[in-house]
Symmetry: C2
Amino acid sequence: MARTDFSRMRCPIARSMEVLGERWAILVLREAFYGTTRFDDFSRNLGIASNILSARLGKLVDNGVLQRVPAATGGRHEYRLTEKGRDFFPAYLALKRWGDRWMGNPEGPVTVLVEADTGREITSPPLLDSAGAPLELDRVRILPGPGAGPAMRQRFGDKA
Amino acid sequence: MARTDFSRMRCPIARSMEVLGERWAILVLREAFYGTTRFDDFSRNLGIASNILSARLGKLVDNGVLQRVPAATGGRHEYRLTEKGRDFFPAYLALKRWGDRWMGNPEGPVTVLVEADTGREITSPPLLDSAGAPLELDRVRILPGPGAGPAMRQRFGDKA
């Protein structure tokens, strides 16, 4: 069966998954957030085969999440986060919070992120409702947005 | 080459990706957040082949993200979010925010999430530093956490 082309789907989450929905892609991004820029360092830190790493880095570059720049200190080029890539950091933190809580090690998190100048721990902020209490999922309602097609408008529109 | 077993990796993000790092898994979760519970509704709303959907639902059940419960109104069973699954909602929202911003449609988001009682839009909260300003990535420092092994302690520990 042909592989579904997620990049043509209307849902931006689906299109995001076309870029990120591969197990290694998010770990390559994790490494970039850890400050890794060189192919050999990605390869060593991730324990990933060169051909797979090369494909993942290439796809992230093609999609504007990373950019390939000349190496600052000789050698090969480096991979730097673009604005689009840096803007994924809150989503990475939210995934890390979930992973640490539900898929974590009994001893606790492997890494802790802190503000360099204050030492304050950086964690994904909790979802609060308009009264400042934790937001409960059963109070969330889905509405069609401005980019909704007819099917989504029918699905989530007012039936009144 | 053998497929790397992410579930044995120490990093909880890697273990999370073993469950979620497949393009369909996150869309199945999206549907669950939209209120979908029945196999046929997942199948129709996602346009996914039955065998793939069945495998994805089974993996999410095996990993405690969804649970299979007897259907409330006859017919087959339903798939309900567990606490672990519901707790993924902030990460889903953070992914949605990034997708809408960087992979979105020119007309705007396909769906908008609001608080049912107030109509207030629900979005992923921004990352702020301790002074309340947007957190800049270059001010983030990575430290080894309590679950860090020797390699991570060496990598991120104080070299002083």
